[in-house]
């Protein structure tokens, strides 16, 4: 009880790392997610369902398997290994790896969220914009984007929250290196596997929850301001 909400230095490092990972994953995935959702909503390509299925894979497969597949692709001996080495990017056991793992696992959630919002946009508005001289891209930026703003925000919140909780893929791809890739869930995992570590694990859980509440309130506030306009 005396250790209630006292975090060790390693815990604090894990919290900062988790914030970095969640922000990084969200920022990387948002533009991609928007583009993908847009494609899925507006394209008339027949292969759409196939692409959608691929995007959903990280949701369907256990996170550990996703991590394993990412390792196969991005590892030293992996498909992209030589390429990544040539541009001097290390994924495995690095912060980039943790971000990549979170981004991949949360991606289907983000795409889905944006997509639902985008499907609800009134086509007529887009048409009106086109007759007013806005090209496809122009209308995308000035009409579709702001009108799906709340959905994008929801997608970002989902992604952030999922990143905070991501364990399986991260531990495989990024390893569990304290101070480098040990995010909150990894630290919690360690604690829960130690008899008597429950209190420390709970502390970290509370930090996670506080973070997610902060993001939630922020996104609600932004969403309200989007609606008010």
């Amino acid at each position: 009880m005396d250790t209630f909400l006292t975090l060790t230095a390693q815990d604090t490092a894990a919290v900062w790392l988790s914030i970095k990972v969640a922000c990084g994953a969200t920022l990387i995935a948002t533009p991609l997610g928007f583009a993908t959702a847009h494609f899925l909503v507006f394209s008339k390509m027949p292969a759409k369902s196939l692409i959608e299925g691929l995007i959903n894979l990280p949701l369907v497969l256990p996170p550990v398997v996703v991590g394993y597949l990412l390792l196969l692709v991005c590892g030293q001996a992996g498909l992209l290994g030589p390429l990544l080495r040539s541009v001097d990017i290390r994924i495995i056991f690095t912060l980039s790896g943790a971000i990549l793992a979170s981004a991949v696992v949360g991606f289907p959630l983000m795409v889905r969220a944006i997509r639902i919002g985008m499907e609800a946009i009134d086509d007529n508005c887009l048409m009106a914009a086109r007759t007013l001289g806005a090209g496809r891209w122009d209308a995308l930026v000035t009409i579709t984007l702001p009108l799906s703003g709340r959905a994008v925000l929801a997608g970002m919140t989902l992604m952030f929250a999922r990143s905070l909780g991501e364990f399986g893929a991260t531990i495989i791809l990024a390893g569990n290196i304290p101070g480098v890739t040990q995010t909150i869930p990894l630290a919690i995992y360690e604690y829960t596997n130690t008899p008597g570590g429950d209190r420390a694990a709970l502390n970290l859980c509370l930090v996670s929850i506080a973070l997610s509440f902060a993001i939630l309130l922020l996104s609600e506030a932004l969403g309200r301001s989007l609606k008010r306009r």
Binding site: C125, R130, T131, G133, G149, R229
Partner: protein, 351 residues
């Protein structure tokens, strides 16, 4: 403008087919509800792709099924005022109004936003979100937004519905002036023959998706004499008035007309229904009609049991609508003389 259209489009059981060429700058589209007017607009603007055919505007091909040409809407530069405003819900009135204007080449920006905003009486609403406007306010924003885009052709789908009469007759002359000044051609949908006569010279009449007739607005108005409750309306262009007692004298060509209605400087347009003109021969003891004009009968045209009497009144043209029986009784015939009695209150100012 030279708009050449020959298209066909099937929508469920409904089929819209039209082949016409419009030369006049101001053309109307007329037809009952569900006859395909809005569909035609969508086809012209590029919002709906025809099943086959061709659309050419001022020499540019906008669509040609055979040649595989289909310009996207933003390249057609055809402005549309939709039947339901379709404003951008996430922008305020100002940003809605300027959306198209900002996307117009500065060289083509021939219309002044300030002036238009004033005419549409939107000045006090500029920073309001469009979801918090009244029905008429929304309609005005939609109208302004399209006009400000300075398009090569404007399509208007019942743009004046939901507006009170006063506002309507404040907007119409402005529209006329702007479109005229910059020679922007207009295709105008309306159920109101009066709006049609003010805004157009020529009309496409649709029925059940098919173009039924392409006639001058004038002859559409004349044929309206035949319909129940319809009638021909003279449109008079009068000079600046001077007050005489509590009435007003307006120059009309070589002669003058006495009206109950006053007005400032500048020329004015007035409506005068053909059936408001009473024709008489001889002199009365007293008559309430303030205008007694001696006219020559130019010709007679009949529609059902009504007869249009075309009159020449010192160079001015006028059509009076009477019944066949009166024609016989009064012995009216081309070349004859007759007095047209018109009450000072029969005139209706429209512009």
């Amino acid at each position: 403008m030279e708009l050449e259209v020959d298209i066909e489009k099937r929508l469920g059981a409904f089929c819209c087919a039209a082949a016409f060429t419009v030369h006049s700058l101001r053309c109307g589209v007329f037809g009952p509800s569900g006859s395909g007017k809005s569909t035609l607009m969508n086809l012209l603007a590029g919002l709906v792709v025809p099943d086959r055919g061709r659309i050419r505007l001022a020499g540019h091909t906008l669509y040609d099924a055979e040649a595989g040409i289909n310009l996207p809407p933003e390249q057609r530069r055809i402005g549309v005022v939709f039947q339901h405003a379709r404003l951008f819900p996430h922008m305020n009135v100002r940003r809605n109004l300027l959306y198209g204007w900002r996307r117009t080449d500065p060289g083509d920006r021939r219309i002044e936003p300030e002036a238009l905003i004033k005419v549409l009486n939107l000045g006090h609403l500029l920073h309001r979100g469009v979801t918090r406007l009244s029905g008429g306010e929304r309609q005005r924003v939609a109208l302004g937004r399209t006009v400000l885009a300075c398009p090569r052709l404007i399509l208007m789908d019942e743009p004046l519905t939901g507006l009170d009469e006063e506002l309507k007759y404040q907007i119409i002359p402005y529209l006329q002036r702007v479109l005229d000044q910059f020679a922007i051609p207009l295709l105008f949908i309306s159920h109101s023959l009066r709006e049609m006569r003010l805004m157009t010279d020529e009309v496409l009449v649709f029925h059940d998706g098919a173009l039924q007739a392409q006639v001058s607005t004038e002859s559409l108005a004349r044929s309206d004499m035949a319909t129940a409750g319809g009638g021909y309306v003279n449109m008079l262009h009068l000079g600046p008035p001077r007050q005489v007692g509590d009435l007003w004298c307006y120059p009309w060509g070589e002669t003058e007309l006495v009206l109950t209605e006053g007005g400032g400087a500048g020329d004015k347009f007035f409506e005068l229904e053909a059936r408001d003109i009473i024709l008489l021969k001889g002199r009365l003891a007293a008559i309430s009609a303030r205008n007694l004009l001696t006219c020559r009968v130019v010709g007679l045209f009949g529609v059902n049991n009504r007869v249009g009497v075309e009159l020449d009144c010192r160079g001015n043209r006028l059509v009076a609508q009477i019944v066949q029986e009166s024609v016989c009784e009064m012995g009216l015939a081309a070349g004859g003389e007759v007095v047209a009695a018109i009450k000072a209150s029969s005139f209706r100012r429209i512009v």
